[in-house]
Amino acid sequence: MKVVVCTKQTPSTTAVFTVDANGHVSWDDPGGKPNIVNPWDEYAIEEAIRLKENHGATDAIALTVGSEESKDALKTCLAMGCTEAILVSDSAFDGSDTVGTARVLAAAINKIGDVQIAVFGNRAIDGDTGLTPVQVARKLGWTPLTYVSAIKEISNGQITVERLLDDGKETVTAPLPVVISVVKEINEPRYPSFMGIRKANRATIPVWTAADLEVDGATGAEAAKVNWGHVYAPPPREGSVEIIEGETIEEKVRKLVDKLFEEKVI
């Protein structure tokens, strides 16, 4: 049983962004590296490695569609314990929307072959749509299991998971293969070990291009159904602070309630 974990490189959580007049976005992080593994994906990577350690998966393969720079994110996956990493990169994929990205990911998963579980993070901190996992599932024709907070059992070609939903937990069983997207309650991601870092730097990360894949459907900016018409930095929020004075707590609360009525907050 092979497990694939799809991961994406995102700007670091402390990155500082600039948007120029043409809507071109750039960023840097004065305190560290500007790009990191999408933080949600750390849980997906951990779970993929655990599927290998505890559920007899033979491979835990990290997969990303992105630029050459995304190899950094893949190295982190290897350093944490993934057995392999594959970068899919081609200018034909630039500017894809989530459907385009999903088509490429699905084609790559098909090429890897014999994959039973594709693990995703719940969402990416930059694009933040949460669409990619379900779209990949749809493309592959596999069952999507979202918001997974625990993998309970894998046996007889079936997987049982717990899903963490707004109004409670749900346990569901589905036939393999499946696409799962995980929430952070599922595990505690491990740190990359120094031994892992060494291994990652010795590993070669193959780069697959459009020519290596049989992508079903169009990709790239042209094909994107969702267009980014206007990209700009939102104006900073205006706000002011008022400290309510009063002799007693009761008086302060009364004044606060009056204010809130006045401002039509309540």
Partner: protein, 387 residues
């Protein structure tokens, strides 16, 4: 700019930073307050490879170089110098000595567990009446008649990690009349009869690292646990300290950087007399001097690390480079910690901020593994050839 720092070095540095910030930062103040040894994080560090960075993989280590070691140690010490002390003793004072002077059997038995973080190591040179002047030690090791065991007696002081150590590299006299040339090194197993520990020392700084006396009362050390030859101990001790001093320099650099970073932020935010305090020349001078010393320390540390890496090929000693790095970085740490408190005013003196901890932690770097006076002596002797 520094093209000797590879992508792999950067990844090690980042991994160390991440671990320090996520796992050590939240507990550092509490362990400083209570003086409790951070066993759990030390174990975790061991599993991740922090305890045997320069030890080859076949001996349980990571197989990287001195640069990787100093980059990782600096990141740990930027957050907590106590963890750094424990890490540096395992790496430089224990593993380095075993790797360089141990037999294959000794390496398998003692280096593998310490380098892989499953056991804790320590290094014991100092005695109550013998510190900077190691030739005057009073502890003794005498070979028994059968020639199978050395019988060791005496007290050693200030042994970092001793309260938790599984194995200790011990330096003691086998031929006292020969002074320095009568010192021999041994590997001690701390669970054997004849070995005991004194009380853990209460101390000014690096309070989460545990230091105690150790006492030998007819401890029987098998001959195969002698490290190196009889009389070679002093040379081994000094060779190991050369490596260790680079680590202490990196520790000092970490403390200095933490103090500087906090100071820059505070100078940008804190206002007095209608200005940011960073606009006052007297504060600017402090920041500028701190920064220059921090960067100069870093360069001396890189120089020492490269000299040590070079030495693996050429055999050339790097005592001079190591002493210069340790001397300058430790004085920089003390300068920066002191000025950082000054820049923070009353807040700097408060336990609510880590500045006062940096100040207390910085001091040890001017004392252990050779005081600043001893470093100056080593440096000057190298320059003049005079003794």
């Amino acid at each position: 700019m520094f093209d000797f720092i590879t992508e792999e070095h950067r990844m090690i540095q980042e991994a160390a930073r991440e671990f320090a910030q996520k796992s050590i930062a939240p507990i550092a103040a509490e362990h400083d307050e209570t003086g409790k040894f951070p066993l759990e994080t030390v174990r975790q560090m061991g599993e991740l490879g922090f305890m045997g960075i320069e030890v080859p993989e076949e001996y349980g280590g990571v197989g990287m170089d001195t640069l990787a070691y100093v980059l990782a140690l600096e990141e740990i010490c930027k957050v907590d110098a106590s963890h750094g002390t424990i890490m540096s003793v395992n790496n430089s004072l224990f593993c380095h000595g075993l790797l360089k002077f141990g037999t294959e059997e000794q390496k398998q038995k003692y280096l593998v567990p310490v380098a892989s973080g499953k056991a804790i190591g320590a290094y014991s040179l100092t005695e109550p009446m013998s510190g900077s002047d190691a030739g005057t030690m009073k502890s003794r090791a005498v070979l028994n008649e059968a020639g199978t065991h050395y019988i060791i007696n005496g007290r050693k002081s200030w042994v970092t990690s001793a309260p938790y150590a599984d194995y200790i590299v011990l330096f003691t006299m086998t031929q006292p009349e020969k002074k320095h040339h009568g010192v021999t090194a041994f590997i001690i197993e701390t669970d054997k009869p004849g070995f005991s520990r004194g009380k853990t020392e209460p101390k000014l700084g690096i309070r989460a690292s545990a230091t105690s006396e150790i006492i030998f009362d007819n401890y029987e050390c098998p001959v195969e646990n002698r490290l190196g030859e009889e009389g070679q101990g002093f040379k081994i001790a000094m060779t190991v300290l050369d490596a260790g001093r680079i680590g202490i320099a990196a520790q000092a650099l970490g403390i200095a950087e933490a103090a500087l970073e906090a100071s820059i932020k505070y100078a940008q935010e804190r206002e007095a007399f209608g200005k940011k305090i960073g606009q006052f020349q007297m504060i600017q001078q402090k920041l500028a001097d701190m920064k220059c010393r921090v960067e100069a320390s870093r360069l001396l540390i890189y120089q020492a690390a490269l000299a040590k890496m070079e030495s693996a090929k050429t055999g050339r000693r790097y005592s001079l480079e190591a002493s210069m790095a340790k001397l300058f970085a430790s004085e920089t740490a003390n300068y920066c910690a002191k000025e950082a408190i000054q820049i923070h005013g009353g807040m700097g003196y408060s336990k609510e901020m880590p500045l006062e901890r940096y100040y207390r932690d910085a001091k040890i770097t001017e004392i252990y593994e050779g005081t600043s006076e001893i470093q100056r002596m080593v440096i000057a002797r190298q320059l003049t050839g005079l003794r």
